[in-house]
C-alpha cells in the first residue's frame, strides 16, 4: 500500500468519524433532512470564501460555510414558525435557494479556477494527497488531512464536554430549559458542528454523499443498541468500516471512492435493517409469529382451565370450540405438549400442574393489568418458544 493510499484512507476514516458524531444526534432529533439542507446550502459560503482566499482548505472558507449552515437552520425555523408551511416544506424551500446561489456564483466567476460543481457535489478524495501542507519547507502531509483532523478534534472535544447537555436537550428539551441548560445553545452548537463537519467532508465526499456519512451509520447503530454511548461507538465503527472497505471497493472497481463508500454504507444499513437481533425486519417478523402462537397457546390453556366437560376438551372438537384452523390448532397443541403444559389421554386434553400454574398466574396478570409481566413469566415456564 502506497503512502498516498494510506493517506486517502486515513482522511476517509476521519471524515466518517467526524460525520457519525453529529449524525447520531441528528438522527435522534429526527433532523436527518436538516443535514441534507446544510450540505447543499453551505455552497454559497464555500464559493464566497474561495473567491476571497483562493484556497479550498482555508479556515475562512470553513467559517463562512458554517455561517451559511446556521443561516439555513435559522431560515428554516423562521419559515416554519410562521405556521404557513410545515418543516419539511421549509427545508425544501431554503436549501435549493441557497444552493442555486452558489451554483450561479461558480458558473459566473469561477470558470478559470479549480472549483466546479462536480467537485462540490461529489468531491474527489483521490486528489487529496497531492495538495500538501508545508511548514518551514517540510512536508507534513496532505492539507485536507490537517483540516478534517482539526475538525474531528474539535468535534470530539465538544462531544466529551457537552455529552450530558446534548443528551438531555435531545431527549427532553423542556426539562433542559427548566434546568437552565439552554437547549437553544446546544441546538445551534450542534448545527454549527454539523456545518463545519460538512465543509470538511466536502473535499472528501462532496455535498450529496456527506449526508449518507452522517445518517446511515447512526441509523444502523440505532437499530442495534439501546444505549446512547454504544450507539455513538457503533456509528463511528460503521463509518470507519465503510470508509476503508469503500476505498478498496473503489480500488478494485476503478470507480469513485465517494460513491463506493456510500454504497458500502447503504449495504451496511441494509444488513442491519434486515438482521438486527431485536429491531431488524426478520427478528420482528419472527417475534410476531412467535407471539401469535403464544397468545393462541394461552387462549387454549385458558379454555382448558375454564372447562371441565370432556366434550369441550376433546382433541377432535378443539377447532370447533376455539374456532381455529387445523394447522394452527396442531401447532398450539404441539407447543403445549413440548412445554409439558398439557396431557392427552384418550384424545382428551387436560392441564398438567405446570400448565395450571402458568395459566393461573397469567390470569392474575391480565386482571391486574400487568400484561407485560406475562412476557417475563414465559422465560420461567417455557422450554420451547412458539
Amino acid at each position: 500500500m502506497s503512502s498516498a493510499q494510506l493517506e486517502i484512507q486515513l482522511i476517509a476514516c476521519i471524515v466518517a468519524v467526524a460525520c457519525a458524531i453529529p449524525g447520531t444526534f441528528l438522527v435522534l432529533r429526527k433532523m436527518a433532512m436538516i443535514s441534507d439542507a446544510i450540505s447543499h446550502s453551505i455552497l454559497p459560503g464555500i464559493v464566497v470564501g474561495f473567491f476571497i482566499t483562493q484556497d479550498l482548505n482555508s479556515p475562512l472558507l470553513i467559517l463562512l460555510a458554517a455561517l451559511t449552515g446556521i443561516i439555513t437552520v435559522v431560515l428554516v425555523e423562521y419559515i416554519q414558525k410562521t405556521g404557513l408551511v410545515k418543516e419539511d416544506t421549509a427545508i425544501g424551500l431554503v436549501f435549493p435557494a441557497l444552493f442555486s446561489i452558489g451554483v450561479i456564483l461558480i458558473a459566473k466567476n469561477a470558470n478559470d479556477v479549480h472549483l466546479d460543481v462536480d467537485a462540490v457535489l461529489l468531491g474527489e478524495l483521490a486528489f487529496a494527497p497531492f495538495d500538501r501542507l508545508f511548514i518551514n519547507g517540510t512536508d507534513v502531509g496532505p492539507k485536507s488531512l490537517w483540516v478534517v483532523g482539526t475538525i474531528l478534534l474539535i468535534t470530539i472535544t465538544l462531544l466529551i464536554l457537552f455529552f450530558k447537555e446534548l443528551k438531555i436537550s435531545t431527549f427532553d428539551k423542556g426539562l433542559a430549559a427548566s434546568l437552565g441548560l439552554s437547549p437553544a445553545i446546544i441546538h445551534y452548537g450542534l448545527m454549527s458542528v454539523a456545518s463545519v463537519t460538512t465543509v470538511g467532508a466536502f473535499d472528501a465526499v462532496g455535498a450529496i454523499l456527506v449526508v449518507a456519512l452522517m445518517i446511515a451509520p447512526a441509523a444502523a447503530a440505532y437499530l442495534l443498541t439501546t444505549d446512547l454511548k454504544k450507539m455513538l461507538a457503533l456509528a463511528i465503527s460503521f463509518g470507519i468500516f465503510s470508509a476503508i472497505l469503500g476505498y478498496w471497493v473503489a480500488h478494485w472497481l476503478d470507480a469513485s471512492i465517494a460513491g463506493s463508500i456510500t454504497t458500502v454504507l447503504g449495504f451496511v444499513f441494509l444488513m442491519v435493517y434486515l438482521f438486527a437481533p431485536l429491531k431488524g425486519i426478520i427478528a420482528v417478523m419472527y417475534r410476531e409469529k412467535q407471539q401469535r402462537t403464544e397468545v393462541s397457546l394461552l387462549t387454549f390453556l385458558l379454555h382448558l382451565k375454564n372447562h371441565d366437560e370432556v366434550e369441550e376438551r376433546h382433541v377432535n372438537h378443539l377447532n370447533e370450540h376455539i374456532n381455529w384452523q387445523k394447522v394452527r390448532a396442531k401447532t398450539v397443541l404441539d407447543l403445549a405438549l413440548k412445554n409439558n403444559m398439557i396431557l392427552i389421554e384418550n384424545n382428551v386434553v387436560s392441564l398438567t400442574k405446570k400448565g395450571n400454574d402458568f395459566t393461573s398466574k397469567a390470569i392474575d396478570y391480565i386482571i391486574t393489568n400487568e400484561d407485560a409481566q406475562i412476557e417475563d413469566m414465559k422465560d420461567d415456564f417455557f422450554l420451547f418458544r412458539g
Binding site: L28, E165, D172, G174, L175, A177, G180, K230, N369
Partner: protein, 257 residues
C-alpha cells in the same frame, strides 16, 4: 384569600408565597393563550390547575419555568426571578412530550434530574447515581433501573418521570398531567408520593384533568380558562359556580366532605 381556614391535612400555613405570578400574558402568534394572570400560590399546598382543553394550563407552567417567553408580566419564586431559583423547582413534563424510543435506561433518565444542580459540563458521579437509585426506589421502580425506557409501560414511564423530579430535591414541584394514561395502581402510587411531598412542606402544582378526584387529591385549586377564574382552598371554591364559569356549561359535581 389570606384569611382562609386551614384544612387539617395541610401543614400550618407558613404564610409564605411560593410562587407569585403578576399580570402574565402569553400569546402564540398574537393569539393570547393566557391573559393577565395574577396568581399567588402559598407554600405547602397541593394544588390542581383545572380548565378545559386549550385553557393554557400547560402554558402557565411552562411560562413560570421560563420555557415559554411571556409577552407581558412577571413570575417570582420565593420573591426572586425563576432564573435565580432554578434549584428550588422541579418539573415533570407531559409524558408524551418526549421520545420514549430514545436509547437510554430508566436510571439514566432519572439521573437527568441531577443535571440542573451540576450545571454545564460537569458530569454526574457516584453521589448523583445514589440519589437517583433512591428516587427510583421511592416510586417502586428500582428493579427496572437498567430497562430501556421504551420497554416500560405508560404508568412505569410516568413513575420514572416522577423519580426524575424527586431526585432534584426541590421545594416546588410542577407536574403536567401526571395521571395521563396511567393505570389505577400507578395513579395511587403517584398521589401518595405527592401527598408525602406536601407533608414534607413542599409545594406541588399539578395540571389535572379528572374533576371527580380534585377534592380527594388536592387541597388547593386554580380554575383557569385563558383568564384566571378562581384560586383558593378546594373546600371553599371547588363548586358548581366556578366550574360553570370555567367550563362554560352547567357542571354538577358532588363534593365529598
Amino acid at each position: 384569600m389570606n384569611n382562609h381556614s386551614v384544612d387539617k391535612e395541610t401543614p400550618a400555613s407558613t404564610g409564605k408565597i411560593a410562587v407569585k405570578v403578576d399580570d402574565l400574558t402569553v400569546a402564540y402568534n398574537y393569539k393570547p393563550v393566557l391573559w393577565d394572570i395574577d396568581l399567588e400560590i402559598p407554600e405547602g399546598v397541593l394544588m390542581a390547575i383545572v380548565g378545559p382543553n386549550g385553557a393554557g394550563k400547560s402554558t402557565l407552567i411552562k411560562s413560570i419555568l421560563g420555557i415559554l417567553k411571556p409577552i407581558a408580566g412577571s413570575v417570582s419564586i420565593y420573591g426572586k426571578p425563576y432564573e435565580k431559583q432554578r434549584q428550588l423547582v422541579a418539573y415533570v413534563p407531559q409524558k408524551g412530550s418526549v421520545d420514549w424510543d430514545f436509547p437510554t435506561t430508566a436510571l439514566d433518565v432519572v439521573m437527568m434530574g441531577t443535571y440542573g444542580s451540576l450545571g454545564w459540563i460537569k458530569r454526574p458521579g457516584q453521589k448523583e447515581k445514589k440519589a437517583s437509585l433512591e428516587a427510583l426506589e421511592k416510586v417502586g421502580m428500582l428493579s427496572f433501573k437498567s430497562r430501556q425506557i421504551s420497554q416500560l409501560s405508560g404508568g412505569q414511564q410516568q413513575r420514572i418521570f416522577l423519580a426524575r423530579a424527586l431526585v432534584q430535591n426541590a421545594s416546588i414541584y410542577f407536574m403536567d398531567e401526571p395521571f395521563q394514561g396511567v393505570d389505577a395502581s400507578t395513579e395511587i402510587a403517584i398521589i401518595n408520593i405527592l401527598k408525602a411531598l406536601r407533608k414534607a412542606g413542599k409545594t406541588v402544582i399539578v395540571v389535572h384533568h379528572d374533576l371527580q378526584t380534585v377534592p380527594e387529591y388536592f387541597d388547593w385549586v386554580t380554575f383557569l380558562n385563558v383568564k384566571k377564574i378562581a384560586t383558593g382552598p378546594v373546600k371553599d371554591i371547588f363548586n358548581d359556580d366556578n366550574l360553570t364559569k370555567t367550563y362554560g356549561i352547567n357542571y354538577k359535581v358532588s363534593i365529598q366532605e
